[in-house]
């Protein structure tokens, strides 16, 4: 018996086995790493944990993340769709063109997330009811309020996807798609920020983001200058201000932080 035979046998009943294991290489890698640390007695558990990752929590966790992302995309799509339908809100020309482009992307994200969830035998959540006027009554009559919210949603979206990347590590295809959405959200965020005459990147905890106090949770923690075990990256070279250091890295938000932000619109 050998590991190739085991996986080939499983493949007979589960053609997706390689996807679930990321790849043949990763399955072996996982075994190798664990094996270096574990006593021989733990070997069966080591193999079990590889399959557990592939077949067990992996899929549930991935589906949870996908539905979490879907809710955000529903919110964004709904927001832009309503805004575009509010007559006189968005100026004709470049502004309207940009918002239309962004709306199309958000709608596409909704579709791809729903399809992906279904392909993993999950159930996409249905679209929630949003109330953008709950805390921002002039959101669809005041262009500046609209743009402020758009910026907050896009920057939140970037941070939300980033916060979930590690939870998708068991599924290469989903992780890659999430990253491909994540960078598009960042492009949206940068453009909306520039429409408001802000810099395209986030400096400090919202110092350059021109948002009211109530929107601060969107930028909480963005002032971070400690990265990857290095306590203060401004010290890595001459001329690295805190502005440069915080602007160079976007920070993740947890699911709970994102839910608190979204609850302002539910």
């Amino acid at each position: 018996m050998n590991i190739f035979k085991i996986i080939e046998d499983i493949e007979k009943v589960d053609p997706e086995v390689y996807n679930r294991l990321d790849s043949r290489r990763n399955a072996f890698k996982g075994l190798g790493t664990i094996g270096k640390k574990a006593a021989m007695a733990a070997v069966p558990f080591a193999l079990a944990s590889v399959f557990q990752k592939a077949y067990g929590q992996g899929n549930n966790t991935v589906l949870e993340v996908l539905n979490f992302a879907l809710k955000l995309e529903y919110l964004e799509r709904n927001f832009y769709t309503q805004a575009l339908a509010s007559s006189g809100l968005i100026p004709e020309g470049a502004a309207r063109g940009a918002i239309q482009k962004i709306q199309m992307h958000e709608a596409a994200h909704v579709e791809i997330l729903k399809t992906t969830i279904q392909s993993l035998n999950g159930t996409p959540i249905s679209e929630p009811t949003f109330n953008f006027g709950k805390n921002f009554p002039d959101w669809n009559t005041n262009y500046q309020t609209f743009l402020t919210l758009a910026q907050a949603f896009e920057d939140t979206g970037v941070r939300a996807y980033k916060g979930q990347a590690a939870n998708l590590i068991s599924n290469d295809a989903v992780l890659t798609a999430a990253l491909q959405i994540h960078s598009v959200e960042a492009r949206h965020a940068a453009h909306i920020r520039r429409m408001r005459n802000n810099q395209g990147w986030i400096v400090g905890a919202g110092a350059n983001s021109n948002v009211p106090a109530g929107a601060q949770p969107v930028y909480a923690g963005e002032e971070n200058v400690a990265q990857g075990g290095i306590n203060d990256i401004t010290k890595l070279g001459a001329g690295y201000s805190a502005e440069i250091a915080s602007g160079a890295f976007d920070e993740p938000l947890t699911k709970e932080q994102v839910a608190a932000i979204v609850s302002l619109f539910e």
Binding site: R25, L47, E111, Q180, V184, I230
Partner: protein, 234 residues
């Protein structure tokens, strides 16, 4: 970081519900003796395969997560060198707002490079030699189109490399950098033609994700030093 990791399993594993699969799984998981032998065989054949013969003058990015981080470090070296040259030679071509943008991006790329170098420590590849002979630093259009190429390429590179990383912490770190690259890309694209910030995306609303070999081939005209990605995870 621990908050980002997978949580312990709470539920019946979905796919294993099928009795056939579960039986097979239990049978295999219980085969202790065979597995013990197997494990040692697997461990010794190591991570990423082939150690292919390569040009001895080439810089080898290495294997595993270290290799991927070196790959990112190589791209950040390229970007940082480019913007340093733009700020040194070409600021006069730009408006005040644009000058600030170039200064900011120079700072971001510089700190990305220096951060990765520090994080890699003794595993870091050496400094790369760049080749900017095809760029006209007296021409705003030449600078901006090159910047767009580098930024879009950087985004696609990080997007493609995410799945090659094994360590969740590194994945999050790469995520922190890639969205800033995407912000750069959007701003540069808008400087070339306002409204094109996300025209990199396909009709599913997805940005490109490129694998290291393709990224390095696209970057090769701008890098004199030969780079070997032969040992990177695939």
């Amino acid at each position: 970081m621990e908050k980002l990791q997978d949580k312990p399993t709470e539920k019946e594993p979905g796919v294993l519900k099928a009795p056939m699969e579960r039986r097979m799984f239990m049978r295999y998981a219980g085969a202790t003796a065979a597995l013990t032998t197997l494990l040692f065989a697997t461990t010794s054949c190591d991570e990423d395969g082939d150690d292919m013969p390569m040009d001895p003058t080439a810089v080898d990015l290495g294997k595993g997560d270290t290799g991927i981080l070196n790959y990112a470090y190589a791209l950040e070296q390229l970007e940082a060198a480019f913007y340093a040259e733009v700020v040194a030679k070409s600021l006069g071509l730009f408006s005040q707002t644009e000058q600030q943008i170039m200064q900011d991006i120079k700072g971001h790329e510089g700190i990305h490079r220096d951060f990765l170098k520090a994080a890699l420590g003794t595993s870091a590849i050496r400094d790369l030699e760049v080749n900017f002979s095809s760029i006209n630093f007296n021409d705003k259009n030449s600078i901006l189109t090159t910047a767009r190429t580098f930024e879009d390429l950087g985004v696609a590179a990080y997007n493609g490399a995410g799945k090659l990383l094994e360590n969740a912490g590194f994945l999050t770190l790469a995520g922190k950098i890639v969205s800033v690259e995407a912000r750069h890309a959007a701003v540069i694209r808008d400087l070339i033609s306002n409204g094109t910030f996300s025209d990199s995306a396909n009709n599913q609303g997805l940005d490109p994700a490129m694998m290291p070999a393709d990224v390095l081939a696209a970057a090769a005209p701008f890098i004199k030093t030969k780079i070997s990605a032969n040992n990177l995870p695939k």
